[in-house]
């Protein structure tokens, strides 16, 4: 049977701004409960909201990056409902004039398998407080540090066709949000929240009933929840129970791997949206907009393919290098002076990144500048050092911040590449190890490694491996 899954995402991302959306309280949690609160975010009588400039700027940044249309004339609206975690019992959000709409985010499932996922809207709103259900007690505890933190809501069109596509989309979005310095977008920290809409149909038939999924706390959970739902819907249709697929909201229960009904659409709340009277409808400042557009940032996927085309590096390497904004810039800086993209990529990924990870560092703070990396690569290319030495030098520079060229001089780490010198040493090694030599001649070819080892020992690791290898082979075969 030819099945088609139709999937859309509704994503909330918490901004990394310093203050809240409508007051200048600190926008950070993980602190003592109820410390970053004020009359405004606590809904005190007489308090009034004042928009955080960063919220508007970051919404525009995201809109420009996703090639969205902009509602230059925009406004806030009130969404009215009662809940203990929302102090005013209404949320300031945007209803019919979202700041951005009709954009797209490009994703690739694998190299050159590119797809545009359309973004229906991006709008600004505020977060609620955090509720803690005490297991035994008859009470619920609330921390309002999170109440009023700025959020961007991103709604996609139902363009996704599998759980894998959804996962890739979320990864791509996370990368974009980090590149744009909008949010760290960690689902585990609640900086990114995802609701999913899923329906299933046989190809060619009309759209199936849409089911909403909530409560997934990781990308993996999103994938699992989608797969479970697709399976559940298919099963019902196959068994002739298509009508049992109701338009409802289901809660994903990760440790059991199942979902359960939360509420049906008939009970949907009437939010009585109306324009926020405390914040007059406004027009985006054109100067500010121009500035943001001018400083447009290239998104990870774009950069990845540009690296592949411009620098001739592999898809895998390009993916790793563009997975982090600072890393991608670091890499490009190396290539300002250096031509061999793939060598540089391999060296950065295999050698530098492991050091960074081992030391729990971030690329922004390391002592190895792109210029130093370039120098090491140049030394390698001109055969002054071997790759083993290059690794040593990198470690040295990493810890001390000293110029690789100076290190090579000081430590005398230049490769021994003189053929005569090498021949001499190799002859000595063979003479000193007649037993092994005879065994090698008798057929134990494995002992080649032993001889190389001895040569390296004698030269304190500085023999040019390629040359030594060649000469040794020649000598052994004589």
């Amino acid at each position: 049977m030819n099945w088609e899954s139709v999937i859309g995402l509704e994503i909330h991302t918490q901004l990394n701004s310093r203050t809240k959306a409508f007051c200048d309280c600190k926008a950070e949690f993980g602190e003592e409960p109820n410390t970053n609160i004020c009359p405004v975010c606590m809904g005190y009588p007489g308090s009034l909201p004042v928009v955080n400039e960063e919220l508007i700027k970051k919404a525009l940044k995201l809109g420009i990056a996703t090639k969205s249309k902009i509602n230059y004339k925009t406004k806030f609206d009130r969404k009215n409902y009662f809940y203990p975690d929302i102090p005013k019992n209404y949320q300031i959000t945007q209803y019919d004039y979202p700041i951005c709409y009709d954009g797209k985010l490009t994703i690739d499932l694998k190299e050159r398998d590119i797809k545009d996922v359309r973004i229906n809207r991006i709008h600004m709103e505020e977060d609620t407080g955090k509720v803690f259900h005490d297991k035994d007690d008859k009470l619920t505890l609330i921390d309002y540090n999170r109440a009023g933190i700025p959020l961007l809501e991103i709604v996609t069109e139902p363009d996704l066709r599998s759980s894998e596509e959804a996962h890739v989309f979320l990864k791509e979005l996370k990368g974009a949000l980090r590149y744009l310095d909008i949010s760290e977008a960690n689902m585990e920290k609640g900086e990114l929240r995802v609701d999913v809409n899923v329906s299933v149909r046989k190809k060619g038939e009309e759209l199936g009933t849409k089911v909403e999924l909530k409560n997934m706390n990781s990308f993996k959970a999103v994938e699992k929840a989608i797969d479970y739902e697709i399976k559940r819907q298919k099963k019902l249709i196959i068994n002739g129970k298509k009508e049992d697929i109701k338009q409802e909201t289901r809660m994903w229960i990760d440790d059991k791997g199942i979902s359960r009904v939360m509420r049906t659409k008939e009970e949907a709340a009437d939010y009585r949206y109306f324009p926020e009277p405390d914040i007059p409808a406004f027009e985006i400042d054109r100067e500010m907009f121009k500035k943001i557009k001018k400083n447009k940032i290239e998104l990870p996927l774009e950069k990845k393919y540009r690296f592949i085309n411009e620098y001739n590096i592999s898809y895998y390497n390009a993916s790793v290098l563009t997975s982090d904004f600072s890393l991608s810039n670091y890499f490009e800086e190396i290539l300002e002076n250096y031509d061999d993209g793939e060598s540089a990529a391999n060296f950065v990924i295999n050698e530098l990144l492991s050091l960074v990870n081992e030391n729990d560092d971030i690329i922004d703070n390391i002592k190895v500048s792109p210029e130093y990396m370039y120098k090491i690569l140049k030394l390698l290319d001109s055969d002054v050092i071997s790759s083993k030495i290059a690794k040593k030098i990198l470690g040295e520079t990493y810890n001390t911040g000293r110029d690789p060229e100076i290190i090579v001089e000081e430590k005398g780490w230049k490769q021994m590449s003189d053929s005569d010198e090498l021949e001499n040493i190799i002859e000595n090694v063979i003479n000193e190890n007649q037993d092994e030599y005879n065994r090698y001649k008798d057929g134990e070819k494995k002992l080649f490694g032993f001889f190389m080892g001895q040569v390296m020992k004698k030269t304190k690791g500085q023999a040019n491996p390629k040359k030594a290898n060649k000469i040794l082979r020649k000598k052994l075969e004589e």
Partner: protein
């Protein structure tokens, strides 16, 4: 006594003595129930003020009462409601900060219709306020306590709030001057919101000079209020003329109280004799004014009052799952419940277009018509109210009567235009008052014509 007289008295008798007398007066003689709470620390504050030496501040030592929906730090903020019976505000409203910086002393919080919903101050959880001119009658509302505190000579000035006439109407009923600035002139930060797009804070005083002084001190842009304007405050007498053209919608006053009508027309004649030009104008869209006001104000109120649920602050009624609905049922009075329900209905799915959205359109139309008039006019004149004060309890069952009494005051709120009400003539216990509106940000013209009315002999 007005501000000037108070300042003289303070210079003569010393600040502490004067303040002590005022507090005694309030404690002993407030038979009008004008005050909900008094500032127990005011003598300390007076001392501090004296110690600071400089008594050249514009309101040095002047005692002011504040309507109990405006936040004063460490004082009660009940809004005339049971739900906030013991609530203490942790912060000062911007207008309070400005008054304090000018040397004023806040002596107490005044009684009001609950959450500013009312026109007679009979809807307070703290009992009705009595009109000092005749205690059997209402003082008007919702700033009834503010008006009574000035009319009863407890303080020279009170700050109230005006959403549909709640400063001007009680000022008129108690023989005082009531003033509503252009929307956006005075910060609303610290004013418990009733109808956000209509609310403005305004003073109730004994004369226009005091009104103008207080206005200058409290007005101006506030970064805590996104609806506050940064339009420059005019200079004294800026844009004022010797002769104004004044529009009067004579058709509208056909069926009002006879005395009010007579006094109004006489005042208009006098103005004509003084050299002003009187023009007859029509006000077609006024037929939408009260319904528009009802819809918009109740809609916004239903949302603004949703925060009062006993969860984060306030008088929580119990600790069960229905905590919120019970707290609100027991905490709110009947008028507040009525208005919140109407407001919820006109915003609800399926009705929002017919009621709320149409009301927004009507608001624009009414605004347009008024502003159009100001292309050829300097002022618009009307009586402040179509009716006289009535006895306490007389109109309790007639919900619509009170709403219709706002007919002449509502247009200023709907259009955002400034308006002033000045008493002109005494009739028995009460006064007829005249109301003027000017174009946006032309408050100086209102003060100018106001002073002229005072000189004409209506009062002092």
């Amino acid at each position: 006594m007005n501000i000037f007289q108070y300042k003289k008295k303070i210079k003569k008798n010393g600040l502490k003595k004067v303040i002590r007398e005022i507090m005694e007066n309030i404690k002993k003689n407030d038979k009008y129930n004008a005050f909900i709470s008094v500032n127990e620390k005011v003598l300390e504050e007076a001392e501090k003020l004296e110690k600071n030496g400089k008594n050249n501040k514009p309101l040095h030592g002047v005692p002011i009462s504040i309507k109990d929906n405006i936040a004063v730090k460490n004082q009660k903020l009940t809004c005339g409601s049971n739900l906030l019976a013991n609530f203490i505000s942790p912060y000062d409203a911007t207008v309070i900060k400005r008054l304090k910086n000018a040397g004023a002393l806040i002596v107490g919080k005044t009684n009001m219709d609950e959450f500013a919903m009312g026109a007679s101050n009979e809807y307070s959880a703290y009992g009705p306020v009595k009109n000092p001119l005749n205690p059997e009658y209402v003082p008007g509302g919702s700033s009834g306590g503010s008006a009574a505190s000035v009319s009863g000579n407890f303080v020279p000035v009170s700050l109230g709030s005006d959403t549909g006439g709640s400063v001007r109407q009680p000022a008129s009923f108690t023989g005082c001057v009531g003033f509503k600035p252009t929307y956006g002139r005075v910060s609303r930060y610290g004013l418990t919101a009733f109808s956000s797009s209509l609310d403005q804070i305004g003073p109730i005083t004994k004369n226009v000079d005091d009104t103008s002084l207080i206005y200058r001190i409290i007005s101006g842009k506030d970064n805590m209020d996104s609806t506050s304007s940064d339009r420059k405050i005019e200079e004294y007498k800026e844009n004022c003329k010797k002769e104004y053209s004044i529009g009067v919608p004579f058709d509208l006053i056909e069926d009002i109280d006879e005395d009010i009508k007579k006094d109004f027309l006489e005042t208009i004649e006098q103005l004509k004799n003084n050299g002003h030009t009187i023009k007859k104008i029509s006000f077609e869209t006024i037929k939408y004014a009260v319904p528009t006001y009802q819809i918009i104000s109740t809609a916004e109120a239903s949302s603004n009052l949703a925060r009062f649920d006993g969860i984060i602050y306030g008088n929580r009624k119990q600790n069960e799952k229905n905590l919120v609905s019970v707290t609100r049922d027991r905490g709110f009075g009947i008028e507040v419940k009525r208005r919140c329900m109407v407001g919820t209905f006109v915003l609800s799915s399926g009705y929002s277009d017919k009621y709320y959205k149409n009301a927004l359109k009507a608001k624009k139309i009414i605004s347009k018509e008024l502003k159009n008039h100001f292309k050829n006019l300097d002022l618009l004149a009307l009586p402040t109210t179509p009716n006289k004060p009535f006895k306490i309890g007389e109109k309790s069952d007639d919900v619509l009567y009170l709403y219709k009494g706002d007919l002449f005051t509502i247009p200023a709120n709907l259009s955002g235009l400034p308006a002033i009400s000045i008493p002109v003539k005494k009739n028995g216990d009460f006064y007829s008052s005249i109301q003027f509106m000017s174009n946006s940000f032309q408050e100086e013209i209102l003060f100018d014509i106001g002073r002229e009315i005072e000189k004409m002999g209506g009062k002092k």
